[in-house]
């Protein structure tokens, strides 16, 4: 494990080359497949790419370029690595508690509520919101559009089947989130899985949508995009925030992840803060 000056210079050269390779990979994927990862935040992107490099039995990013451009199935696998965001039901329970206390009363005044859950991944938080809205008696006049870039995770989300092993965490989140019922009433345990009530997805539309390359497709009263923008660089975050603004009704609600902020984006002045800690904002212009 030599860390001599010469070895450190070699290491720097290797890192510079890696950056070139990552640029070539994302450019190639964009031109050939149309998925645009060019403005993803570099450190996470780098980790995820290397995970795939090793999983494919390769040793360089250049090797992965050849592989994914000539083998669509390996592209599918890379796409999963680059786009799956791990989540849990009622992730950050206090967010849901705040939504229940501060946003639900506003929504009660609307005859019909359109909700866009952008980047819904495997759907845990979509089912969470459906449960919350059912308990508040609002679900029947809501329609939730749950979108993700990745078709494979959408299939999972549609199924409403989640590992039973996660139910302990989910139940404790549900309670902290102000759940008014009994969490186990919402699913049936079968072998190692929890199968959620089909009624929870009655008013949910699952659809593929790419935040980076697709346009606005409706106007919404509520938009959730939680822990998705953290994977984007500043320029791309701005673009996606503009897309949300175009898709947002006046006085519509934006809900971000616990550690995401609109403070650093160009839409900061278009929203007022409803709950700073829970990242709930309301469009005011």
């Amino acid at each position: 494990m030599s860390n001599s000056p010469a070895a450190i210079i070699d290491e720097q050269a290797r890192a510079d080359l890696e950056q070139i390779e990552i640029g070539l990979l994302t450019e190639g994927i964009y031109k050939h497949y149309g998925f645009d990862f060019r403005d993803y935040s570099l450190p996470s992107l780098r980790r995820r790419i290397w995970k795939r490099v090793y999983a494919e039995g390769l040793s360089t990013v250049s090797g992965l370029i050849e592989k994914v451009l000539h083998d669509p199935q390996s592209m599918e696998r890379l796409l999963l690595d680059l786009s799956i965001n791990t989540t849990a039901m009622f992730r950050d329970p206090t967010f849901y508690l705040s939504f229940r206390q501060k946003i639900v009363p506003l929504l009660r005044t609307y005859p019909f509520v359109r909700i866009w859950h952008a980047g819904c991944s495997t759907g845990e938080e979509v089912y969470s919101m459906a449960i919350l809205l059912q308990e508040e008696g609002l679900y029947d006049r809501c329609r939730i559009y749950a979108t993700d870039i990745n078709e494979a995770v959408l299939q999972k989300a549609k199924s409403g089947i989640f590992p039973l092993s996660t139910m302990q965490e989910n139940t404790s989140n549900y309670i902290t989130a102000g759940g008014t019922g009994t969490f186990s009433d919402y699913y049936t345990a079968r072998y190692d899985y929890a199968i959620f009530r089909p009624s929870l997805r009655e008013n949910v539309v699952f659809a593929q949508h790419n935040l980076v390359t697709d346009a606005s497709f409706n106007h919404f009263n509520v938009i959730f995009c939680r822990n998705v923008l953290i994977y984007f660089n500043n320029a791309l975050q701005d673009r996606v925030q503009q897309l949300f603004l175009q898709s947002m009704e006046m006085f519509g609600i934006l809900g971000l992840g616990k550690k995401e902020s609109i403070k650093f984006t160009t839409v900061a002045d278009d929203y007022e803060t409803v709950d700073a800690e829970e990242r709930l904002y309301r469009r005011v212009r």
Binding site: N3, P43, S44, R47, T86, I230, Q237, K259, S261, F264
Partner: protein, 227 residues
């Protein structure tokens, strides 16, 4: 705990193997390294870390010239408790990091509960990728990204902890020419973590806890943060 730890701990390396400019592993005096321009201090700790961080931060002056990033393993729903605690014991500005926050000198950036903290040039990113070695935040993830962003400008500090998180990251920091300090395992509430770093790479210093803060002040004297 620490079952894998080798017997040659506490700087038992033969002096002939020491790199140029370093007289001994436990020598607290700063030699040539202080002439270097460091950019970032990254601190990792786990079990026993609260008290260790308190000890270090009490000794850092308000005008400490560099930013400091910290991963302390914490429960996934913990909130403002840790930043509040550290604010009480530090003259520095302590924040629970928000995504894409700009890095400023004299500020302590904590990895939020249930997120990885990643360092980019000039700013910080978060991720909810899987836990690494059962940890999110992971010290390895922070160290590795810091080494990628700031190369030889990184000072990594591995403190008390009952696992081996941070060892791989410390290795990466050393590979990129950075500086690594490990808490002397004998002074750690849980010795496994600093020991794992010592076993994984040739750390620059092994120091008792109370000397780490003053050492960092000394080491960073003359460094200026460029962003």
């Amino acid at each position: 705990m620490g079952a894998r730890a080798r017997r040659d701990s506490n700087g038992g390396t033969g002096s002939s193997e020491l790199p140029p400019g370093i007289r001994s592993w436990t020598d607290g005096r700063v030699l040539k390294e202080a002439a270097r321009d460091y950019q970032l201090v990254a601190i990792g700790c786990s079990m026993g870390g609260m008290a260790a961080l308190q000890t270090i931060f009490q000794t850092l002056p308000k005008d400490f010239p560099l930013p400091i990033t910290v991963v302390q393993h914490r429960y996934r729903t913990s909130n403002e408790g840790l930043p509040q605690f550290l604010r009480r014991h530090s003259k520095l500005n302590v924040v629970d990091t928000t995504d894409k926050e700009w890095i400023k000198p004299g500020t302590v950036y904590l990895a939020p509960a249930n997120y990885h903290l990643l360092v980019e040039r000039g700013e910080l990113s978060l991720s909810v990728d899987e836990a690494v070695a059962y940890s999110r935040p992971s010290i390895d993830v922070m160290f590795e990204s810091a080494a990628d962003a700031y190369g030889s400008g990184v000072i990594g500090v591995v403190l008390t902890g009952a696992n081996s998180d941070g060892a791989r990251g410390a290795e990466r920091i050393k590979k990129r020419g950075g500086f690594v300090v490990a808490q002397d395992p004998a002074t750690a509430e849980s010795p496994a973590m600093p020991q794992a770093a010592i076993d994984a790479t040739r750390v620059d210093r092994i120091l008792p806890l109370e000397r780490i803060g003053p050492f960092l002040v000394e080491l960073c004297r003359g460094s200026e943060f460029h962003g």
